[in-house]
Symmetry: C2
């Protein structure tokens, strides 16, 4: 038998309606406090969760509860089961992959967005979301120095943004594909998408998804700075055209994932313009740095793109997910994707923008709110000083690496990522040494670094991007690396 109190609670839980608003207030305050404590204590947590696989699964029941539970029990489990299994992306010593973090105001925006719970398929179903999206994307366009011909649309991730860009390129190159598809058509040529060897894996996934196949992706050789060689691109395109293959898209990257190398966008634009090929610029990571006047030259040529992807969720203190696709002509996307079933037909379609017309997703979250909060709370100047500081910290770290006899910098540092490695007699020894150093640092919980492979050599990556990062954190990870070197080189 259940105690009477529990039974009363369970009965309440099987009534209609939502949580009483008094409880909403009480638990809401409590969560705000917990999150404030979390941000205050962020450096006390291990960066990489130290749990073992299946620890969370083992700690939870195998079925949902029959009756509702007191929400305090849920909060206890967040503390005891979830929190130890969190990898702390906000930790200032998260230097792996790309270091990203939310900001407080980003969390606030997600509170409103979740509470309003609008689905922005139609202007009518979410006017605030639809219009604010246009406003903040124009603000961002100005801040990054793009001409006003560019109009944007918000998606979830760069993978999805880029897939839409390539789909629009395919539509332009072969307008018949929307109706007739690609298979079994005598008039449908094989198509080609050009990228550098250092392109992001999402583009491989895009060409799979779009039915172009991995063979449609031609990876162009890079130079010693890991930048696409424009003359090799020109040759490849000429060769493909001669072979009856249709070039549909070139994707130069400004800030590749491995090394943040910068493909020669202006030279690529020359080639694309000559052949009438869609140029999509992947600036998912780097675009935040375009707001620094001194770094604008690194973006030279992107204003000639047909489309550009930027990820404010990466390095703009905006919680995941929010990726922006800017297009020279947003109608290219509409041509590829728009179709309106009767149940979504409205009488205002000519006078308003309906988000659903620009992509595969119908419903769309109110993502623009968090970007708006971030831009207003920090201001352009506040964002500039933070991004600039991250770049300075990366260069500072690179200078320590350069000055040390044990280490070397492995690639240029145009933004806030340093590729570096411990030196050893030969490549195999160096690879083992660097893997061991990475293992030691990451398993300490004190910092997280990741790796890539450059010319066959395991290369460590240190990314600086958290809103919480300061010089002392970079000093700390350098000390950890030096100690790990000593330990691993023994």
């Amino acid at each position: 038998m259940l105690p009477a109190g529990d039974r009363a609670f369970m009965e309440k839980m099987t009534q209609f309606g939502d949580m009483p608003t008094d409880d909403f207030r009480r638990y809401g305050y409590e969560i705000v406090d917990r999150l404030a404590d979390y941000f205050e204590r962020i450096e006390e947590f291990p960066v990489l969760s130290q749990i073992q696989p299946d620890d969370v699964k083992k700690a939870l029941p195998t079925s949902a509860p029959e009756f509702g539970e007191a929400f305090s029990a849920v909060l206890d489990d967040v503390d005891n089961i979830i929190l130890p299994a969190v990898t702390h992306w906000n930790h200032p010593n998260f230097h792996g992959l790309f270091s990203t973090s939310t900001s407080s105001v980003g969390v606030f925006a997600e509170m409103f967005a979740a509470a309003f719970d609008m689905k922005a398929m139609l202007w009518r179903t979410a006017p605030a979301s639809t219009e604010l999206e246009d406003v903040v994307l124009d603000w961002l366009r100005q801040m990054t120095g793009l001409p006003d011909i560019f109009e944007g649309i918000i998606y979830d991730t760069a993978s999805v943004s880029t897939m839409h860009a390539i789909a629009a390129a395919r539509e332009r190159a072969d307008p018949n594909s929307r109706k007739s598809g690609l298979a079994g058509r005598a008039d449908a040529p094989r198509m080609r998408v050009y990228v550098s060897e250092h392109v992001h894996s999402s583009i491989d996934k895009s060409v799979i998804t779009l039915g172009l196949g991995l063979e449609s992706l031609r990876k162009i050789e890079t130079n010693e700075r890991f930048e696409m060689r424009a003359e090799k691109l020109a040759e490849a395109i000429e060769e493909d055209i001669a072979a009856g293959i249709l070039p549909i898209c070139v994707i130069p990257t400004i800030g590749t994932t491995s090394t943040t190398s910068i493909d020669p966008v202006a030279a690529v634009a020359d080639i694309c313009e000559k052949h009438g090929i869609w140029m999509h610029v992947d600036a998912a990571y780097s675009s935040s740095a375009a707001i620094l006047p001194e770094l604008q030259p690194l973006f030279d040529g992107w204003e000639r793109a047909d489309s550009i992807v930027m990820n404010p969720h990466k390095w703009f203190f905006t919680p995941f997910d929010l990726s922006v696709l800017y297009c020279r002509d947003l109608d290219d996307l509409k041509k590829a994707f728009s179709l309106v079933p009767e149940y979504l037909r409205t009488d205002d379609a000519a006078s308003v923008k309906n988000g659903m017309d620009y992509g595969i997703q119908l419903g769309r979250r109110f993502r623009s709110l968090k970007l708006w909060f971030v831009m207003r709370y920090f201001g352009r100047a506040g964002l500039i000083v933070r991004i600039r500081e991250h770049c300075r910290l990366a260069r500072l770290f690179a200078s320590w690496v350069n000055e040390s006899p044990n280490w070397e910098v492995a690639a240029p540092v145009p933004f806030a990522l340093v590729c570096f490695r411990a030196k050893a007699a030969d490549t195999d020894t160096a690879n083992s040494l660097n893997e061991e150093i990475m293992r030691i640092v990451n398993s300490s919980g004190k910092a997280y670094i990741s790796h890539t492979k450059l010319d066959g050599k395991i290369t460590l990556r240190l990314s600086v991007g958290s809103v919480h990062v300061e010089e002392r954190h970079i000093e700390k990870v350098w000390r950890l690396l030096e100690a790990a070197f000593e330990q691993a080189a023994k």
Copy 2:
């Protein structure tokens, strides 16, 4: 010159770091209060925003602020500019499209998810998210009565879930397509995907995206209950096979968007099994009702599917977005999408699940948390009584329509959507009449209904699904409709 106080504030805003945690607490409480007030006052708001196009744009500056603003100013603008432009999906008289709403605990989960800001590409980068996803999807599988062979993955929207299902079907039918694509291959047959006339538009978008083309979609005739005619499906498949076209996927829907009609899934399964065709069941809307024991028969046959899409963000009080794709063999997705670049290679790949392997998106939000909160706070019983009540209210409304001389029910009501229309002498008059009624109701701000077209007739749709809805709300919208009828029929 700026006043000294403002200048001090601006200087603070160009320092490094995030909002001080004291401010986070203060503003956090304030937002909790505002949201509690919002939920308490939800019925005072017009359901459909009553702003005019461009009102939001006109109210906002054309550029981002140079210096950060006090967050209180941002909150004021949320009240004055954003709130009037919100269409209130949580309003109990939101009956358009599908009525969906968040719950309080859904908002709480989004607070944690935004604050942790994990990107769940790898187990290592988000163990809590990766493991909790498996746990809650197994809970949901049990609650909806699916056999334990099914394993799920969370995406953002049903459009994306379904696109992945068709991609997996394509991979199975033509494993060469991943590598070689579909164009210009002598061995790549034209493919066909079969749906009913009432299929959701997202499937049209999926076949465009996947390079199959709109012609690959064969829409099978429906019967007088708007259900796919299985014998017509069988004929279409035989005909296509004879013509050298490869059937790759059949998508029966349980709960179509227009009318919530139910395709004969078991009969479709027979046909799919006979020909070895992938069966993907679209239960995006209806799946929440599968937790009602008395409605389980409506889902007969879905346990034979290769994949099933369910949208907890529709009718399970879970804030947008959260769509689940269940697969009989999740490796089908992995075969289609997995590829691991060096910078994402980890030594634990054999022992853990990495979310990025199952789709196009690399980073993935911590979406499982909100489904977990919802299932724990309401419990299975609490969810059942709410969904059951929504179905009862829809049947009650349909009974009023049936009893009235002015109105007719236009389709069966298996779940919580009623298709109905005002009667008139002929179709044209009826169409104008119903459009005018819809206009009157929606522009009143007191309720929102939407429409579809059935056999050429404009048909109104009343969906019941908000966590806040009670019988009095259904009575209210019925009174509004009756009054609008009187006004429009004059």
